[in-house]
Structure formats: structure tokens, C-alpha cells
Symmetry: C2
Subunit: 193 residues, 2 copies
């Protein structure tokens, strides 16, 4: 998506260790118009898949997910990274290992919000090693829900996430695919979602 | 806002200890159309205030804040509850005491995103004792930014939050004001934002 790749070129910043910082418009400060456009684009790609729910994980996934859900006219659910005081019901839970933080955390969704009738579009801001996506897929599977696909804003194609998800026969659509971040330079895979 | 109070009547649920659960449409599962309407309503109320940024706190504040920011045509910033790996810059930080969890946590915003030129609208899903709002106000003050007001979806008017904020001469606008939650019954303050 040219709007996104242009913005990454202009406002993204490469830190060491393959980290791309997009805190000016996605992960900390948010550009609502760009988010709306990205959510609509993901909804468009999955428009014929009879999606019943959009599922993401707090916090950076919420903005793109809510716009995608709005365009698909379905509810959005955000998985919690910690148990909330008011989550008294039965929970779907999965463990997510973070390579960067080297810790395993538990993500959860109230069981009442997902069922075998659901056909889910997963949305997240980044796809790197795919561990968060894998955790969200596990939550859906526990509920017996189908996962129609995963829509990603920025994919680090030099990491294993896409392969991991595609090996589960789940389609991955990324609005920007990054081939490498060597020497502080952002190289995109030139293909447009 | 009738759309919200109706929804609370239909889908809200009172737990013990003055807790109102709205996880079907705000805090866990999200209704995008209602969020859009609420964000637009808050934007409308503050339309003539020359707002330059909408500021909220992760995670439940993000959806209403991004719609309010979009309607005001300004960026949205969400304060982080924990330090992110890629937050390498100077941070504005404030301590927030949670009465329910009885712990103090640190919230932060990168200093580069707020300046003395900014006129901020704060947005959050709940106003109860006002500690989160107070923390967000402190972050803005550290940056020298003005706080034009705070827009809230659901105010628990039987707690001290509104008084605390109004004592700082900051206008509070809440789309639904709850007078009490006694005996599992939701009583609204009948006044419409």
C-alpha cells in the first residue's frame, strides 16, 4: 500500500537489531486517516470471506482493527495481555513468547465472544516472528472458530512469521513488506497489497 | 448520549463493588459504529477549542480517542503503561495509583510528541477516581501543553474523578453519567452530553 510505504520511508526510523520504529504514526502517535485507510484496505481484501469478527491484541493493533471491523460491519475484539479485574468469565488463553523481551506472557479473550460459528479476521500492526499471531490463532481454535486470514500493516519479511502462519494454511496479507533493515536502510519487497 | 446510555442499559452488567462491565461493546469486544459515534460526539463538543492532539491511555481509550482525533483532524497519542523496547527517547512520565489493584504504575509519552504549542483533548473510556486522567494531565503539563478538556465515555459520578479534574479548572464532558450502581441497578444522571 503506497500510502503506508511512503509514510514509512518518510517517518520510519531504523534502530539497531532489525527494529523499525513507526511511533510517529502507528505505535505511539497515531495518524487516524492513515489508520482508517489501512483498515479499509484490509477489509477490502477479505470482503468476500464472510468475516464475523475482527480480532487483534492490545495495544497497537486496536486502531487498525477497529477500522477494519467497521468497514466489514462486524465487532472487533482485542485480546488482553493481562487479566482484567472485570474479566470474571471463562477465558480462552494462549502463551506468547517474546523473543525481544525473552519472556512468555499469557493473552486472553472471554470465551463468550468467540464460537464455532465465527469466521475471524486477525489484524495486527507488525508481523515479525509470528508469535503473537500464533497465540491469537490458538485462541480462535480453542473456541472452534475459523481463521479466514491475517491482515498486517508492516511485515518484517526477513523474519519467520509469514512462513509460520502460512504453514497453518492461513492467508497472510501485509500492507507493507520489508525485505531488510541492514545499515539503517529500509528495503521493501515491491509488491502491493 | 442516548445511544450509549441505551446500550449500557441493554448490554452493561453490574458486578459487585461498584463495577460496571461493558466488555460487550467497549472494553474487550468493541462496537466500531458506536465508537465512531462517541468519538465524533466528543469532537463536536470540543470543536471550537483549537485542539492539536488527542491523548489517551492504552488500551480501552484507543478506539474512542482515534475516532475523536479523526473527527478533529489531529493526531492521537496513546500513553504507554510500560516502557516499550523502541521507546529510546526522552519520556514524559507520571505515576498512576490504582485503587482497585492497589499498585502504582508509571505511564509515559515520548517527549517529542507534546510541546508548549499543543492544546490537548484527553479521552478515556471511564472516569472513576480520576487517577489515570490526573496522570495524563501531568504528562501534558510536563510538556508545557495546555489541556482544553477531558472527554469521557462513562463517568461513575459517585466517585471523585470529576471533582478532582474540575478542581484543576479542566472541563469534563462525559457521554454517560452514572449516579449509582446499588443493588445491581444502573441509575443515570439524566443529562445529555
Amino acid at each position: 500500500m503506497k500510502e503506508l510505504t511512503d509514510r514509512i520511508k518518510n517517518n520510519g526510523r531504523v534502530l539497531g537489531e532489525g527494529v523499525l520504529k513507526v511511533d510517529e504514526f502507528i505505535t505511539h502517535q497515531v495518524d487516524p486517516e492513515l489508520m482508517d485507510a489501512m483498515g479499509k484496505r484490509l477489509a477490502e481484501v477479505f470482503a468476500d470471506k464472510k468475516i464475523t469478527k475482527v480480532v487483534t491484541i492490545e495495544a497497537s493493533g486496536i486502531a487498525p482493527a477497529v477500522y477494519a471491523a467497521q468497514a466489514l460491519n462486524v465487532p472487533m475484539i482485542f485480546a488482553r495481555k493481562s487479566k482484567s479485574l472485570t474479566m470474571d468469565e471463562e477465558l480462552l488463553t494462549a502463551s506468547v513468547y517474546s523473543f525481544t523481551k525473552q519472556v512468555t506472557s499469557t493473552i486472553s479473550i472471554s470465551r463468550k465472544f468467540l464460537s464455532a460459528e465465527d469466521n475471524v479476521l486477525l489484524v495486527d500492526d507488525f508481523l515479525a516472528n509470528g508469535q503473537a499471531a500464533k497465540g491469537l490463532i490458538e485462541l480462535c481454535q480453542q473456541a472452534g472458530a475459523s481463521v479466514a486470514g491475517i491482515g498486517i500493516l508492516i511485515e518484517k519479511s526477513f523474519q519467520d512469521g509469514r512462513q509460520l502462519i502460512e504453514d497453518m494454511n492461513i492467508p497472510v496479507v501485509s500492507l507493507a513488506r520489508i525485505a531488510s533493515l541492514h545499515d539503517g536502510k529500509i528495503i521493501f519487497i515491491e509488491e502491493d497489497a
